[in-house]
Structure formats: C-alpha cells, structure tokens
Amino acid sequence: MKNTPQPLDDTLLNYLDGSLKPEEKTDIEKLLQQSDTLRVRLDELRGIHFALRQIKLDQPSKNFTQLVMGKLDGYTERSTFPIRNGIWLLAGVLVAVGIVSLLVSSGVFDQTQTVVDLNKINLPKQYIQEPLPSIPFNGKLLINIIIVLNLGLAWLVLDRAILKPYFQRRMQTH
C-alpha cells in the first residue's frame, strides 16, 4: 500500500511515463537506489502501468456503420429541457396570469390612471420651443397587455417545452 508522500508518487508516475527532465530523472533514480520503500512503490505503480498498457480498443457490432447510416434520416433533435420542468414553468406562468387577472377584475388597478406631464421634467430651455404634450398613463391597460403577453408565453412554453418533446419521444419509442 501507499507509504510514499503524494509528490513522490507523482514523480514516480512521471518517471514511468518518461516525462521527467534528465536532472529530475537522475534525482529520482538516486532516491530509488537509497530507499527500499520507494522501490516497492515504484514496482506497485509499474504493475498497474503495464496492466493498463494492455488496454485495447473495444469492438462494436459488425453492422455498426449500417445501423448508424440507417438512423441518419430518422433523426429528430431531442429537447434537453425536461417535460416536467416545462409543466412547472407553464403552471407558474398560468398562476401569475390568474392572480393578476383576479386583481384586475377586483378593481385594484382602476385608480392607476395618471397623466405624465413632460413640462415638469427639467430640460434645457434653449432646446424646447413649444410646450411638451402630456401623456396619459393607464395602469390597467398596461397590466392587461402584460397578461396577454404572458398568455402568449404560456402558449409558447406549452408548445416547445411540453407538446413538442412529448410527441418526439412518442415517435422515437414507437
């Protein structure tokens, strides 16, 4: 078992790999002559080094190439996004839309109407010849637009993250 410190083990492995500089090689060979423990460790590491050198390439099936060529046309890119995550995302979007819709219908945003008066903003007078217009701001309208956008997002999530991967997997299993 290992009785040598890690740096010496690394040096011994580099020695076996032949990746030591000449002076490092001389140093470790001197140490090896002096230490029985180190020689034993070198033998242990050499044993595994030679065993690993016997590793050979594994042989795939004889019709491997034909099988690959047969699969080329039936390939459909699998979504890496798990369906379960898609369902959670869709549920989250729908819950958010539901909560905001409830708030809108209960009139929470009814009082969010205001007018943004651009003349109140401190702008350099030399550039402004005429009074600036006032812009009406309707919070309820903005929230409704956000709800519609979220419904669009929910539809996209349903299509891309749930339905498409589901039917792809079904096609591949049949």
Binding site: L13, E44, I48, Q59, F64, T65, K71
Partner: protein, 185 residues
C-alpha cells in the same frame, strides 16, 4: 486518412453526399464505442449511445469549426451523450474510496496475467466515468493530454492529476489483492 482528407470528406457530406459519412463512421467507430463503453460499462447501452452520437454529429456537422481534429469534436459528443445516458440510467455514483475489489480466494497460486487483467478491470469499474475514460484514452496512446481534456471537457492539468490519482488508486487496489492472495498461500 489525414486531417485534410477528413475535411474533404466532411465537405462532400455537407454538399449532400450522405454515403461519404460511412468513411468517417468506419474510421472512428472503435474509439467512439470504447469511450461510450468506458463511461457506461454496458455493451448494449454503449452501442446505442455511440450510434446516437454519430447521428447527432452528422446533423451538426456544419457546426464543426475545424479548429480541432474531427475526432476530438466527435469523441466529445460521444462522451457527453454517454454521460447524459449514464445520468438517466444510474444516478448513483460509487466511489472507489469506500469499496474493495472483489477477491476470489478460491483461485490459488500466483496472480496470473488474466487474473490481473480481471482485477484491473474490476478496479477500473469503480472509478468514476471521467477518470476511467481519461485513463483509457491515455493508455490507448492516441491522444495528447490536451485532446483528452477537450474530449472530457476538463483542463489538461486536471486530466493529468486525474490520471495520476486513478493509477495510484488502482495500484493500491492491486497491492491489496496481492496481499490477500499471499495470506491464502
């Protein structure tokens, strides 16, 4: 087949000559299968994964930027596909730290080379897939540390450390087996 010839073959495939891909599959199937097998430790799954990786590589061939060798790019796809398959099929990782290689005390005499190979394989199976793949690619003598690093998506220094530590673990395991054998004599 040189890199240049491979690039010409890829050009033909991209131009619509699908059959030209057989040349690349024939050339790289052994390494692709070996990498998948090192990760998955199951021949059927490895075969399936290696084939899927070739199909994936074919459909993404236009994204191969030719800065690296085609083999490095392909084997990285094989490695990643195998790792994904491994995670789906067997999420539990067994560390070599807390396991002992099975030793059969029925076999008497010195540790024969076939026994040694068997024990090395058993010990290898207990390494994690990245260490096992790095070690195998290193000893197949085909790849530089940089290429192994690119295939396994690690830094070259990390790969070097991994290979060293994996060999130390294997050496310790084999020494343990030899000691157990000596006790039965």
């Amino acid at each position: 087949m040189t890199n240049e010839e491979e690039f010409q073959c890829i050009d033909r495939i991209l131009a619509g000559d699908q059959q030209a891909y057989t040349v690349l599959v024939d050339k790289h199937k052994y390494y692709a299968f070996s990498i998948a097998l090192k990760v998955l430790q199951n021949r059927n799954e490895a075969e399936e994964v290696a084939q899927d990786a070739f199909v994936k590589a074919y459909h993404h061939l236009s994204k191969f930027n030719r800065e690296a060798k085609f083999s490095t790019w392909l084997y990285r796809i094989v490695f990643n596909t195998a790792i994904s398959a491994k995670r789906k099929s067997k999420p539990i990782f067994q560390s070599i730290e807390n396991t002992i290689v099975e030793y059969n005390p029925g076999s008497e005499g010195t540790l024969e080379s076939s026994d040694k190979k068997k024990y090395v394989n058993q010990a290898m199976a207990k390494l994690n897939e990245a260490d096992r793949t790095a070690l195998s690619l290193f000893y197949l003598d085909e790849f530089s540390l940089d290429e192994i690093a690119a295939i396994t998506d690690s830094a070259a220094n990390t790969i070097k450390v991994r290979i060293h530590r994996a060999r130390q673990r294997l050496a310790d395991e084999l020494t343990l087996i030899l000691k157990q054998e000596a006790l039965t004599l």
